[in-house]
């Protein structure tokens, strides 16, 4: 799953959100490491909507600005859960490999004569 799609679905698990809220929540949740541009966001929203992973939930005018709200669908939640499982599995494998290599480098080496 592409990064923008992952972060959009993650933001929408918290409930109904509009575009700018998704951008801000993504920046905060990723500790400013992922900053979605508005253009990237709407391209990803278009794609997710086409794949039926999210759906629009009405347009509102707030302080003279148009805001379109989105909701995550059941398919979207399932897809995100599968992605999270995969990431956790990958992280566990990477940690196990790193700790093994750390243990190997820390153990005393025996010289073979």
């Amino acid at each position: 799953m592409a990064q923008p799609a992952f972060w959009i679905l993650t933001a929408l698990t918290g409930g109904r959100r509009h575009g700018y809220e998704i951008m801000r929540e993504t920046a905060v949740a990723s500790e400013e490491r992922v900053r979605l541009k508005a253009t990237t966001l709407y391209a990803a929203l278009d794609r997710l909507e086409r794949d039926r992973l999210i759906r629009p939930d009405g347009d509102e005018i707030v302080s003279g600005r148009a805001r379109r709200y989105y909701l995550i669908t059941n398919d979207g939640s399932a897809r995100l859960a599968a992605e999270v499982d995969l990431l956790e599995q990958s992280t566990r494998a990477a940690r196990a490999s790193m700790s093994t290599s750390r243990a190997a480098s820390a153990s005393p080496r025996m010289a073979v004569v």
């Binding site: 575009g19 541009k37 253009t39 709407y42 391209a43 794949d51 347009d59 600005r65």
Partner: protein
């Protein structure tokens, strides 16, 4: 309001339809972001990003279809130029017309269409699709100039004149086209590898390698104008693929089509007999074509070869009848015998052409007429069978048929004559067989395991 207007102006990169649907929400989000960052207008990054995404959004399936149709027209023109006008154009100093059509224009339109399809189907991001198209178009234009330069250099060398000007720049032009083409392919491959979870460095290395190796191979294939024709036809058919699934249920042809099991044994036997007749007669014709000069009393091997090919092509008639009988039996009564009749006329024209073999001037009229009949058969067959709206599939079918005619597609017939015995034999053996019923789905119950199997596992 003036601030908002600046964002709306930026959105002109997007198609009108997209702006009507999403423009207000995107501008609202951009204004929120600008306000938080204390900006009064779009940032430079935002401008660049909007251009990339806006232009990329214009690459959709509608554009892909238009590009495919235009590529087919360019390829048809290229085929006609190659067969009928290459020498007059060269004499008139317009040898550049063919490379412009078949190295720059048709492949450029094909790339545009492929990128649009890939973008629409989520295989390419919008900015990457734009970058790949731009790089490829540049590469193709430079490649076309390189081909003209090569031709000029070749002519100069033929005349023993020193190579100067454009002709002298061939190496640089070739190198530039290679670099641009490699960069375009690298962008495409890197996008496809994005989902593979490969390390960035590994996927970038693979993408660059693919670009460096594939660019000259694709460039070399464009030397033959046939590549443009085949590519354009392939893209045109690809644009119809998304409608295939949606039309599978509603297409009238599928509603009347019967299962293979419904075809009567008599019809199967007739089709098998007709195909076997072709297999036997064409095998004899091929043997005669290859060895007849040694034993038939006709010493001219070329004449014997021509006669053998003619007999083999005419022996295809029972096979065509077998195909017709089976297709009609499956509920395709309309639009089957018409195209097959055109195929018969095409083969007859080639047979007549071979009476003047091997003199090309004496044969070319027969090949042209044969190709026209072959093109008509292809157009008719495809127009009534392809998915998609009637207008679209008719336009694609007619252009593919015209392409076949322009490239003298019937020239492949003499080669097919040698494969005919095998094709007809395979048809006689396999094509009309009654399909085996699926034991799992029969009566909705699975077949019980056989006793031997039970014994062996116990």
């Amino acid at each position: 309001m003036a601030q908002e207007e600046r964002f709306w102006r930026l959105l002109r990169w997007y198609p009108q339809e997209w702006r009507d649907r999403n423009g207000a929400a995107l501008v609202g989000t951009m204004l929120d972001d600008a306000e938080r960052q204390g900006r009064a207008g779009p940032s430079a990054t935002e401008r660049l990003s909007t251009a990339g995404y806006g232009l990329g959004t214009r690459l959709d399936e509608r554009l892909a279809l238009r590009a495919a149709l235009a590529a087919l027209v360019a390829a048809v023109a290229g085929g006609a130029v190659m067969i009928w006008a290459i020498y007059p154009l060269a004499t008139a100093g317009a040898a550049w017309v063919l490379p412009v059509l078949t190295v720059a224009l048709a492949p450029g339109l094909i790339v545009l269409g492929v990128a649009a399809l890939a973008r629409q189907r989520g295989l390419l991001s919008e900015p990457r699709a734009v970058v790949a198209v731009m790089l490829t178009l540049l590469a193709l234009v430079v490649a076309a100039i390189a081909q003209v330069s090569w031709g000029m250099g070749f002519d100069a060398a033929d005349r023993g004149v020193t190579v100067t000007g454009l002709a002298a720049g061939w190496v640089w032009l070739f190198g530039t086209a290679w670099a641009l083409g490699a960069a375009a392919i690298a962008v495409l491959v890197d996008s496809l590898l994005y989902r593979s979870r490969l390390h960035r460095a590994a996927s970038a290395t693979l993408a660059i390698l693919a670009g460096l190796l594939l660019a000259p191979a694709i460039g070399a294939s464009l030397i033959s104008p046939y590549a443009a024709g085949i590519g354009a036809a392939g893209l045109a058919l690809l644009t119809l693929v998304p409608t295939l699934a949606s039309r599978r249920v509603s297409h009238p042809s599928t509603q009347v089509r019967r299962a293979a099991a419904d075809i009567s044994t008599r019809t199967r036997s007739l089709a098998r007999l007709l195909a076997a007749t072709t297999a036997i007669v064409s095998a004899g014709a091929v043997v005669y074509a290859l060895t007849g000069a040694h034993w038939s009393g006709t010493a001219d091997a070329t004449a014997v070869m021509g006669q053998g090919i003619t007999i083999a092509l005419l022996s295809a008639l029972p096979l065509l009848a077998a195909i017709g009988v089976l297709v009609v039996a499956r509920g395709r009564a309309a639009h089957t015998w018409g195209p097959l009749l055109f195929v018969v006329l095409a083969l007859a024209a080639v047979a007549v052409a071979f009476r003047n073999a091997p003199a090309w001037d004496g044969m070319v009229a027969g090949f042209a007429v044969g190709s026209a009949f072959g093109g008509a058969a292809i157009a008719w067959w495809l127009a009534t069978r392809l998915p998609g709206s009637a207008g679209t599939r008719t336009a694609i079918a007619v252009l593919i048929g015209l392409g076949y005619t322009a490239f003298l597609g019937i020239l492949i017939a003499p080669m097919l004559a040698f494969a005919l015995p095998l094709v007809a034999a395979a048809f006689a053996i396999w094509a009309p067989r009654r399909p085996q019923p699926d034991p799992e789905s029969r009566d909705g119950r699975a077949r019980p395991p056989v006793r031997g199997a039970l014994r062996s596992t116990s």
